[in-house]
């Protein structure tokens, strides 16, 4: 959507497209984002390697989430885009099959939502990346509530984000490094909860 030059008239843009793409599929060369539904179907069917797998999946999600968070702390738009795409694919390969039916349903909701936010982060400007990160953080926090975590995680909160609406995030370090403001207000926030 963002790549389309909105200001150009529909017809003019369409005319350009004819000259540049000879067939309809020609302009579909974006990297294939993981389709949440398909991925889920596959992973649900695959009951072979359950056991310890899921904690590993949750751990992989957390690791990619933390990398993304660090890119936002650095106010690095391009890096956050890449890491958003990485996180979307990690979320897509989460195997929830060893959880109870209720948990699976909830994880499915969480993952679907989280994937969408991660995908948006992979194609947005800084301000939008941070908006999506806020909801993504809630998704990941809710995921951890189900999966648990081996590593100790800090839930941190900055009351000033979005005109004092506030925003929470997760971190492996107790020290505050604010992903919503970056170096504009690097240390704004406090630990509001320790998980595990």
């Amino acid at each position: 959507m963002k790549t389309v030059k909105r200001t150009i008239g529909t017809m003019a843009l369409a005319a350009i497209m004819v000259l540049t793409v000879s067939c309809k599929d020609g302009n579909k060369n974006e990297p294939a984002a993981p389709m949440s539904n398909e991925m889920h179907q596959e992973s649900m069917d695959d009951k072979d390697n359950m056991a310890m797998n899921d904690n590993q999946d949750a751990k992989a999600v957390l690791q990619d989430y933390f990398k993304l968070k660090d890119a936002l702390v650095e106010t690095n738009n391009d890096k956050a885009k890449q890491l958003g795409a990485t996180l979307a694919s990690t979320l897509g390969s989460f195997d929830a099959s060893s959880y109870s039916d209720n948990e699976q349903q909830e994880l499915k909701d969480i993952l679907e939502d989280a994937i969408e936010h991660a995908e948006h982060i992979s194609e947005s400007d800084m301000a939008h990346q941070r908006e999506h990160f806020k909801i993504l953080s809630k998704d990941v926090t809710d995921m951890v509530a189900i999966t648990g975590t081996e590593m100790k995680i800090y839930e941190q909160f900055c009351p000033m984000y979005k005109n004092n609406e506030g925003g929470a995030w997760l971190s492996m370090n107790e020290e505050i490094r604010n992903p919503y403001f970056g170096d504009k207000m690097l240390k704004c926030g406090k630990v509001q909860r320790e998980i595990n």
Binding site: M1, V4, R6, T7, I8, G9, T10, M11, L13, A14, A15, M17, V18, K24, N27, D109, I110, E112, D113, E116, H117, E131, I135, D139
Partner: protein
């Protein structure tokens, strides 16, 4: 020559006669004025039924529209509202609010031709208030 040839390429029209039970307007009590605004300004690309303009008959505009509508529906399909989990409804409502607040939606390329889809400041305020209340009721 190419322009003539492509007129014969088929496209899939985004049209539907019925409004499904899962529609946003069915699940929620939407005031008539807002209902109408959403229908005119949003539903062409964010539902399974597009009120096609004249130029949609002509290639390559038809392809351009087809892609656009597909993209719009992937992002948000009002017809499938009831099928979204509460979590996703929440996310969708958040995005609806911020897209309208920031004048990102409806797209300029759309309102260029559909003047009636332009949201006035009053329209925006009313829709944002409604969506915010709906979002709060989900939390």
């Amino acid at each position: 020559m190419a322009l003539i040839v492509i007129q014969f390429f088929p496209i899939t029209l985004n049209e539907s006669d019925t409004v499904p039970q899962s529609d946003f307007m069915v699940e929620n009590q939407v005031p008539a004025t807002i209902k109408n605004r959403l229908q005119v300004s949003c539903y062409d690309c964010h539902s399974n039924n597009t009120d096609y303009p004249w130029y949609s008959k002509i290639q390559p505009a038809a392809w351009y529209l087809e892609d656009h509508i597909q993209e719009g529906k992937d992002e948000l399909n009002f017809n499938e509202w009831a099928e979204y989990s509460d979590r996703r409804k929440n996310s969708k409502l958040r995005s609806i609010i911020s897209q309208i607040e920031e004048d990102k939606m409806p797209l300029d390329s759309y309102t260029l031709i559909h003047k009636d889809a332009i949201l006035s400041d009053e329209d925006k305020r009313v829709i944002i208030d409604y969506m915010t209340a709906l979002k709060d009721s989900l939390e």
